[in-house]
């Protein structure tokens, strides 16, 4: 069964460092998303991406965040200068119609 894969599964970084989280969405899907979940809290929408551009973003997705689909398969989330409060589980998802298919997440720990 096709699945969304994410790397790395866990990344530890120092505050102020740049981080890139990678995702390979399901191949025939058209819509791509990043969500985050701070430990013990709800899943929060960050950004959606369609036709090689951002279609929606939340207020969390400020100038320190960016997304890219550099080739036909990868979908990346970059955090330019990490803060302590960026520590969270980051989930990539893709969809073709209404339902989202999520990856297993990348746990980011900012020290």
């Amino acid at each position: 069964e096709p699945e969304v894969t994410q790397t790395p599964s866990h990344q530890v970084t120092q505050m102020g460092q740049e981080v890139i989280l990678r995702c390979v969405p399901i191949s025939n899907h058209l819509y791509f998303y990043w969500y985050r979940q701070i430990l013990g809290q709800k899943v929060e929408f960050l950004v959606s991406f369609y036709n090689n551009e951002i279609s929606e973003k939340s207020e969390i997705f400020d100038d320190q965040f960016s997304v890219e689909r550099p080739d036909g398969s990868n979908f990346t989330l970059k955090i330019r200068s990490t803060k302590l409060e960026d520590s969270a589980m980051y989930f990539c998802a893709s969809s073709y119609t209404g339902e989202l298919f999520f990856g297993e997440g990348s746990r980011l720990t900012v020290l």
């Binding site: 969500y35 929408f45 279609s55």
Partner: protein, 112 residues
């Protein structure tokens, strides 16, 4: 504003019993979805109900939607220990192209 708030926050039942979780939301929606999350894992889509539907079934799952009350319920019948997980409702507000807004979730524990 908060959307998609589930209750109860936590539910503990015996295997074989039914589990009912409720979700409320604030704005008009295109559809409402339920997802499941095992601890530390990704979310798995369970069922989608459109705003013009009132009830939907999938295996042991039954979802209802009452748009007049802005609420939905998820019923899991004949629960199993493997159903232990967090369950989230998520809605796509009208006017939103693709964004899903998740609730806080119900932590279900099914005791063997």
């Amino acid at each position: 504003s908060q959307q998609g708030e589930e209750d109860p926050q936590a539910l503990s039942i015996q295997e074989g019993e039914n589990a009912t979780m409720n979700c409320s939301y604030k704005t008009s929606i295109n559809n409402l979805q339920w997802y499941r999350q095992n601890s530390g894992r990704g979310l798995v889509h369970l069922i989608l109900i459109r705003s013009n539907e009132r009830e939907k079934h999938s295996g042991r799952l039954r979802v209802t939607l009452d748009t007049s009350k802005k609420s939905s319920s998820l019923l899991i019948t004949a629960s199993r220990a493997a159903d232990t997980a967090s369950y989230f409702c998520a809605n796509r507000p009208s006017g939103s192209a693709r964004q899903l807004t998740f609730g806080s979730g119900t932590q279900l524990t099914v005791l063997p």
